[in-house]
Amino acid sequence: EPEVTQTPSHQVTQMGQEVILRCVPISNHLYFYWYRQILGQKVEFLVSFYNNEISEKSEIFDDQFSVERPDGSNFTLKIRSTKLEDSAMYFCASSQQPSGNTIYFGEGSWLTVV
């Protein structure tokens, strides 16, 4: 079964450093998302992306965050200057359609900011 793949699975970074999390969505999907889950808390929406632009973003997704689809397969999340509170599991997800459709999650990238 097709799946969303993410790299790295775990990254430790120093506060203030830039981090790029990478994702390969399912190949025939058109809508891409990043979600975040702080340890012990629920999954939170960060941003959705369609047709090479952001469709929607949450309050969490401030100027420190950016997303990009640099080529036909990768979808990246960049955090410019990481803060301690950015430590979380970041999930990439994709779907064929935006609503009423299954959103498939990747395995997640665990980011630890020290």
Binding site: K42, S58, F91, P98, G100, G106
Partner: protein
């Protein structure tokens, strides 16, 4: 505004049944159910798209009461593999078009013991 799940936690013995509820103070246009095991990505269970819809797969089924703005997930004859945190997610925009912005409930921790 996030949907509210109840109960917060359930402890079962193998073979017992459980019901997890998801309700919203705002109109629900669709409900997505996911199960997440510790340290793993949320795994899609099912979507309910319209009032009165019921779906099921093996011993896990769900219903959607649009008028009551709630959905229930039914787990019958539970197995050890059912253990995990169950989340309901709802799009919050009118008509359900949300570009994948699901707002998740706080989760229900289900533990199945032998």
């Amino acid at each position: 505004q996030q949907p509210v799940q109840s109960p917060q936690a359930v402890i079962l013995r193998e073979g017992e049944d459980a019901v997890i509820n998801c309700s919203s103070s705002k109109a629900l246009y669709s409900v997505h159910w996911y199960r997440q095991k510790h340290g793993e990505a949320p795994v899609f269970l099912m979507i309910l798209l319209k009032g009165g819809e019921q779906k099921g797969h093996e011993k896990i089924s769900a219903s959607f009461n649009e008028k009551k703005q709630q959905s229930s997930l039914y787990l019958t004859a539970s197995q050890l593999s059912y253990s995990g945190t169950y989340f309901c997610g709802t799009p919050i925009h009118a008509g359900g078009t949300s570009y994948g912005k699901l707002t998740f409930g706080q989760g229900t921790i289900l533990t199945v013991h032998p």
